[in-house]
Symmetry: D2
């Protein structure tokens, strides 16, 4: 993710020239000195560090962007907050509720700007969906469903743990698809459709043992390979979520659909420049699902890019979030999702895992509306 | 459904001319004398009855096709079996497990040919999916998901009960979307992917009260407007099912997808002449989801119809089941799904409703493989 | 085509019960006595003939349906008209303009009801497109394009001529894809968008020689394997048409699209229950192509069939034309396209072939509006 | 286009770090001093010029990228070549064959590296199509068709000429959609399918007069609003091309399809990360159009970007061409399409306009294979 974030910063000047603040890439940090030097050269960082504690201690650093595996989010974030640094942190917030709460407490105590990279909110089509929903066009909501399907861990030969594979190691990741993929779906869902109040989940670990890349030994797999849950939203609608890394044919099939009394919206990451919209109030003979190409200048973010009809990609969502973070420094308004917002997603994830383990419904204890 | 079945019988001679048996439309029965007479004229029935007991008592009737609301399936079927009639019965088998078991016992005791109109099995694309799955191309199965989404009961002004609306009356229907729509999904699922062993469900009744068309009074709505469940299949795969009549924009969106180790298949009733197939073993640079148009003569049932490329519709699945039933009389083999097969679907439906009511996982007690 | 027409007649009673006239299948005629007897049994014809002249001479025959290869359309139709028979004739009307004009003259002189089976007009989605266009929603028209792509003659091993293959024999067919496939496109186009005034075409015969099934000898192929033309419509719009039997992957890809000042419509035979509609006057943020599922009771013909969401197929267009023909006998209005209408399509086809041969623009001499 | 090119250069270092040469943005030139200064600040140019002749005269400039309207391509390119500058020039090469030939002569005489920004070749899916075609999988080719449909000039209120609108002014642009849009289609077509030998075209100018933005007067419109042509390729296949700015609902619908004896490929700019591929040699029951998501590391250019499943956009094709140009400086191989390659496209464009004007077939005089 270091590449996507660095790319996000590098493009601000060209596409958001009016911003008062601009990112300066002072330093990049990683344990491998050779690799981090090469990365700094490639992406334009002024200096390198191999110990994050030194980075956090530097006076010339205003903001820290945490792209490490989940098991170091809390420690780094808490230390950075203590030094008064602004923090941008990869999702999910943390491995556990306890870690997450300490992170929220740390940034709130330090009063530092903070955001979590739930980047899909800032795909223009998703932002447009938010605008349409908030306009009330859908009426009372009955259903929300989302899934995030991948197929990259089907081979039993794939090791767990270590570089590029920490997402399969429960110690490093905290959970499997729940924290990695469903967390995205939950963040979007609560942003679009309000709080999730209770959940009933099932998880599965299809491959029970894998070689661990670091130990070289066959070890029990601790993560969830797949997770399904249904839930109630506070607004009375039913939710349905599924994620897996065992859906052959799908690389990053993140889709959601919301059904209201009058209208429905759906979106698919594989076709990210579009939303589909159905409005029952259309004249009967020409009523149908509309395939809306989101490339016009009056649609969210798109006046920044190219002429109507020309598409953008995955990476642009990170540029948008970086820009919105910088803008938030001008306005003093939070750049959502903040750590606090992301904590609500953590609560749902924790309830999901708890529900799956206990084979019972669990309350999420999410209160109020996520922004 | 009387129209779809009658249509099924009427077309046999033209499209399955080699069958030894052919349907003779001796009589049609309905309580309204005028309407049943008009129906008989339109569809070519030789005579009419207004009391089903008289129909069942007639010696010139070999087979009874039950298209009544669910609350009379058991009584008619048991009486017909007792008279030694063959029985074709609309789905779902029954309102309750108890009714269903009595029906199974009745046809087994009477040794009469019987089948339940889970017609979607005989959409050629679905039959082809069965062939592909049975060929082993998919490898070990990880996921099965299906949904059946409609939007016709969103208006609170819609009454419940009575003609054309008995599906909203729990007394007549037994349940809401579970028995009406999910039963189709479950039948297909267990046919394609084996038994479902346990379920965890949620149901919702969005409109709590409606005028009853017969009483004229506002009454509590007893059916499930929406139902979601996840489950385990006996083969270790996870299942996910959703049905609702509150998904604005969907009239009859029955879709399923199955993900195996090597390959995946998906199907959509709105585009019923196609299946989509992904095979990971394809050469990398030309690997993708294949959109297979099922109109060729070497694909199931299609040599009966038109030249390649030309589509058939919903109704043809009934013609196919009627033909297969007649063929089963020649061979002496059962025409699946039989009452016994359909009883397995009932068990899952009952477990689903039970799970939703008790907010807990329920075993289905389905044993062995449905055919 | 004998099957599709017979099927069309057989279904009238069930789906159009209010019609005053109903088809009675008095006789079917074909040269092979055994085959025609089997066909009669299968489809319910009361008698058979092996000489069409005897059929046409019979007093108990009111209407003659001509499903023969194109080279006998004129002779049979002229004879039938002379006997005062109503005539339903497969498309294209004729092989040549001269034949066609004689046929038109014959039915007009005899004042007999007549129609040509350009069945695609009566696919409900196409009929709906006509209604939308006639409503003026599209505004001034700029473009019309259509294609009809197949892939069944790619193999050089395929013989020409004889049973099932007369479409490859220029003597029997008159032309290749122009008369067989483009004629459909032209009929629809002039019905939807008015007259075509001039054309510039190219044709190609990819396989120059094939064994003739009847002679057993390798003979020059006389038909056009592919044909492309552009044209002007009388309303000032540009037209573009393409047809081929060498487009690998397409079985019956008949599509058309019309672009107007305000709105556009497109349709695809492979997904025949839908039209797509774009209206620029939609509110900007929810503007997009609408995918309209044509299965509702208030859409053309669909109240005859099943409940909303459930699809019909190719064959139903023939049922609709048969019904409309019968209805026309009640009202005394012509059942379009009549022989006269079809003659306009012949003029365009002839101009297309002439243009391709001469490598120059040709006027079509089509006058006025086709109905 | 200055933005897309500048963006292309700026991203090289991050995504093609191994290249020996890297772009240095020495200067940007435009007539308006304020605007060019702002542009330089935004995009990182070291200096500005307001007279292109001064720019071309500077010794610190190695390469000139021409993004001006078509009427100045020739003059600038010839001057730059004379100074020994490398030249990257926006398409189309020139307004006229004469201008184009002088440009080719100039760069060949000067022996300077040169390329034309027909960027769509370097959309990864299009590059993959080229690889598949060159592998021979398609067999003998029968058909090639392409279109480029837009809808931005439908309003008669839109002026012609001047800033942002020079594409409507025949003096500045040379032609309308032919040079602007069909030139892209022709470049891709001849790269994928070989030379076009003759053409038969029609053009239309739907809005005959528009206010000219510079003169303020209503003037005759000299460009083609729409153009359709069919053609023969040297390999015997038929080609069909259409372009318009009057196709309501299409912003940048550039699609192509190629049909071979064994297999077919199609692509759509609106869904640019995919190609569709049909292979008739697939096993019959699972034969269908494959929707290939081009996001894997073993597909062209994609290892540069994100993980499989994550899409890129329009702009990336320019990054790829900039990188390939720099790579060509290392290898000494030309970066196609060169001016010479682009001259072949000009010949086809000229023949198209000539054919439309004269209402007759025209030879293109294209010789040999474009690279």
């Amino acid at each position: 993710m270091g590449r996507t974030h660095s790319n996000g910063y590098n493009r601000i000047k060209n596409f958001f020239p009016e911003l008062l603040y601009e990112p300066v890439l002072k330093a990049v940090c990683s344990r491998n000195a050779d690799k981090v030097r090469a990365f700094a050269d490639q992406w334009g960082y002024e200096s390198v560090e191999t110990d994050w504690k030194k980075l956090v201690a530097r006076d010339d650093i205003d903001a820290v962007d945490i792209c490490t595996p989940n098991d170091s989010h809390a420690e780094i974030a808490i230390a950075a907050a203590a030094k008064g640094k602004m923090i941008l942190c990869e999702k999910p917030l943390s491995r556990t509720l306890d870690e997450g709460q300490k992170m929220v407490d740390a940034v709130e105590k330090a009063k530092v700007a903070n955001t979590i990279w739930y980047n899909y909110r800032r795909v223009p089509a998703v932002t447009l969906a938010k605008q349409i929903i908030d306009s009330g066009k859908l009426g009372k909501i009955f259903h929300y469903r989302a899934n995030f399907l991948q197929d990259w861990t089907i081979s039993p030969e794939l090791p767990q743990g270590g570089e590029g594979l920490w997402r399969l190691d429960v110690e490093a990741a905290g959970s499997g698809v729940t924290g990695d993929l469903l967390a995205h779906c939950i963040d979007t869902a609560m942003w679009l459709n309000g709080s999730i109040v209770d959940v009933s989940a099932v998880t599965e670990t299809f491959i029970k043992e894998r070689v661990h890349q670091l130990s070289g030994k066959v070890q029990k797999v601790g993560i969830d390979d797949a997770c399904i849950f249904h839930c109630h939203f506070e607004n009375g609608s039913l939710g349905l979520f599924e994620s897996t890394r065992y859906a052959r044919g799908h690389k990053a099939l993140y889709t959601f659909e919301i059904n209201g009394e009058h209208a429905s919206i759906r979106w698919d990451l594989h076709d990210l420049n579009r939303i589909e919209y159905f409005d029952h109030r259309d004249e009967s003979i020409v009523r149908g699902w509309r395939s809306i190409l989101v490339t016009d200048g009056d649609q969210p973010y798109m006046k920044r890019w190219w002429v109507p009809g020309l598409s953008i990609g995955y990476e642009h969502s990170f540029v948008h979030q970086a820009a919105d973070f910088l803008k938030s420094l001008e306005t003093g308004e939070p750049c959502h999702p903040t750590f606090k917002d992301a904590m609500e997603t953590q609560k749902v994830c924790a309830a999901v895992i708890d529900s799956a383990t206990s084979r019972s419904w669990k309350n999420t204890n999410v209160k109020g509306k996520m922004e």
